[in-house]
């Protein structure tokens, strides 16, 4: 099988967020970059699919030169080759443009059987690029798959479970298709040392976005970013001898909390 996995690089989850001087982007000076956490699950699912059915895993990622590090991580986990769509921060490119460009490059790669991608990127968090790419490629998708039940290349189908309100649904979809991955659907492996060594020699092709016509592709512009400031009251009830409330303190603590919720916060 030819298996594609579309991944992106993002800022560390714990990163402190600061708005840039221009006011409409995030200041990334000195930030730690990681593989988008949801994409780790996509890479793992792609590699497991290869292990079961044979074939190759091709990584596709778009972004500036630094994303090569993330691509190498996916190769070290076990992917076979990669396509880097190099973009040195094209101003104002939105998700729509991004989906079009990535889909365009995937189309050039030719025949594939299945595509995995994360459910969303943890920076912009719109969760639309994967579905858009499927639509651009003219293939069906299943989003937010909690479990891949079966991929059957012979019967040319995949069967996936997806969680919905109050339960789940099982969807059967013909190949080729695209699957978007939330966390917890598998247990992403770490890159082993030999894996990291091998990754350095795996083929990585680069194409430049500057060679792609971007005119009129963008639909939406971010004009401002604010960091929400929610002041919390931080009224923490503790024990007298030690942090935890114990014995008779428990009743009193429960009483006090009820009073605060009723009289101060007025929420019960």
């Amino acid at each position: 099988m030819k298996i594609l996995v579309i991944i992106s690089q993002t800022q560390d989850t714990e990163a402190k967020i600061k708005v840039s001087a221009a006011g409409n982007s995030i200041d990334t000076e000195g930030m730690k970059w990681i593989m988008n956490p949801y994409d780790e699950f996509a890479v793992e699912e792609a590699i497991q699919t290869k292990e079961k059915h044979g074939g190759e895993v091709v990584v596709v990622s778009m972004g500036p030169a630094r994303v090569v590090e993330t691509i190498r991580q996916a190769l070290a986990m076990g992917a076979d080759s990669a396509l880097h769509i190099l973009d040195e921060g094209s101003p104002d490119m939105d998700s729509f443009a991004m989906g079009k460009i990535i889909a365009g490059e995937i189309r050039k790669l030719g025949g594939f059987d299945i595509v995995f991608t994360g459910m969303k990127i943890i920076d912009e968090e719109s969760g639309q690029v994967g579905v858009q790419i499927a639509e651009e490629l003219g293939i069906p998708h299943v989003s937010l798959v909690s479990k891949v039940i079966e991929i059957n290349p012979t019967a040319n189908k995949a069967v996936c479970q997806k969680e919905i309100d109050g339960g789940h649904m099982v969807v059967e979809v013909p190949l080729p298709c695209l699957i978007t991955c939330p966390d917890a659907m598998n247990d992403p492996r770490y890159a082993s040392l030999p894996g990291i060594m091998k990754a350095k020699k795996k083929p990585l092709t680069e194409v430049k976005v500057s060679d792609i016509n971007l005119d009129g592709l963008t639909r939406v512009k971010t004009v401002e970013i604010k960091v929400p400031q929610i002041e919390r009251r931080l009224r923490i009830i503790k024990g007298q001898d030690g942090p935890m409330v114990k014995g008779a303190e428990v009743e009193k603590a429960a009483e006090e909390l009820i009073k605060l919720l009723r009289e101060e916060a007025k929420v019960i």
């Binding site: 989850t13 939105d94 579905v131 979809v173 970013i225 935890m244 428990v250």
Partner: protein, 331 residues
């Protein structure tokens, strides 16, 4: 091109209309339709759904487009994508809105790609700029930032909106019902739903609830989650959980609150034995009042809550729940 503002109804598995639909209609009427000078319209996609037109009218829809087709009986991606794309191509509305539900997230970006429209997801505010472009606010960066996004010169402008972000306000109309008459062939439906399993619950839905009581890994077992359910029921609250609790099998997946799970914004959020990870906060950090009960005074949640008790949940919850019960029976 028309100036119409469309709200696509979100239907539950049981066929009823989700609250977010009424919220979106109300907010679109207030912030968009008037300024744009366009009619507020509802869109119903499904099988045997035209009966809901009156409900959409109650919240201000002057017109309701209906695509009624046997093949749309249960939500399926292609069916919905075809139905809405074809309607958009035929009637060319200015703005199209849907709820950011599991289904909305699935087909809305596909429709946008198909009709060549821009789309934003999970808006918490919507309005129009002076030159009549859709402007939205949403959460990004694990809910640590709120970008404002404005649409450029493309038609239509599409967005999903977060449930429980707007107030549903009635504005009764008797809507004109328009048969969308979109043809869908069985062969068009590629991804087939082969099983749906749902279990009804008497508790309010997480994304619609005014109060939420959630439990984390510290609950220790499925059995112990009864403490969460008891308190939730006492408060008329929805019950939620962390991923750690879901992963451990203490409760079902649809209770997960957070970056992957549901985004909630109730007036009261009670977090029991929850450490307060970035990912959990991404889904509940905008709650009006946050209460934490945790035995670890160093738990990060104590740095970002309103009220807290440092204590063992098995000591604290029984008397707390008892006092809530007393309070409820009084009033």
């Amino acid at each position: 091109m028309s100036n119409e503002v469309w709200v696509v109804a979100d239907l539950k598995i049981d066929g009823s209309v989700r609250q977010v639909t009424f919220e979106a209609l109300s907010e679109a009427r207030k912030k968009i339709a008037g300024k744009l000078g366009g009619e507020l319209c509802g869109v119903l996609i499904g099988s045997g759904v035209s009966g809901h037109a009156a409900e959409l009218g109650k919240y201000g829809a002057g017109k309701v487009y209906v695509v009624d087709n046997e093949l749309l009986k249960n939500f399926n991606t292609e069916g919905y994508t075809i139905a809405l794309s074809e309607l958009i191509k035929k009637y060319s509305p200015a703005v199209v809105i849907a709820g950011n539900t599991v289904f909305g997230q699935d087909y809305f970006p596909a429709v946008a790609a198909r009709v060549g429209a821009g789309v934003t997801m999970d808006a918490i505010e919507i309005d129009l700029t002076d030159d009549k472009k859709l402007r939205i606010k949403r959460f990004s960066h694990s809910s640590k930032a709120i970008p404002t996004q404005v649409f450029l010169d493309h038609h239509p402008m599409m967005t999903t909106v977060r449930p429980n972000s707007f107030k549903a306000a009635e504005d009764p109309k008797t809507p004109e019902v328009v048969d969308g008459a979109v043809t869908i062939n069985p062969g068009d439906i590629k991804s087939k739903v082969i099983e749906i399993k749902t279990k009804g619950s008497d508790r309010p839905e997480l994304t619609e609830a005014e109060r939420v009581v959630s439990g984390g890994r510290g609950l220790g077992s499925e059995e112990n989650f009864k403490y969460i359910y008891q308190l939730a029921d006492m408060l008329g609250a929805a019950a939620g959980a962390t991923r750690a609790a879901v992963d451990a099998g203490y409760c079902p997946y649809d209770m997960q609150v957070g970056q992957t799970g549901k985004a909630v914004s109730p007036s009261l959020y009670i977090a029991i034995a929850i450490s307060g990870s970035v990912q959990h906060f991404a889904g509940m950090g905008s709650s009006k009042v946050i209460v934490a009960i945790n035995k670890d005074p160093e738990a990060p949640i104590f740095q970002k809550c309103d009220y807290g008790i440092v204590g063992d949940l098995f000591d604290v919850l029984p008397p707390f729940t008892e006092k809530v019960r007393a309070l409820v029976s009084q009033s």
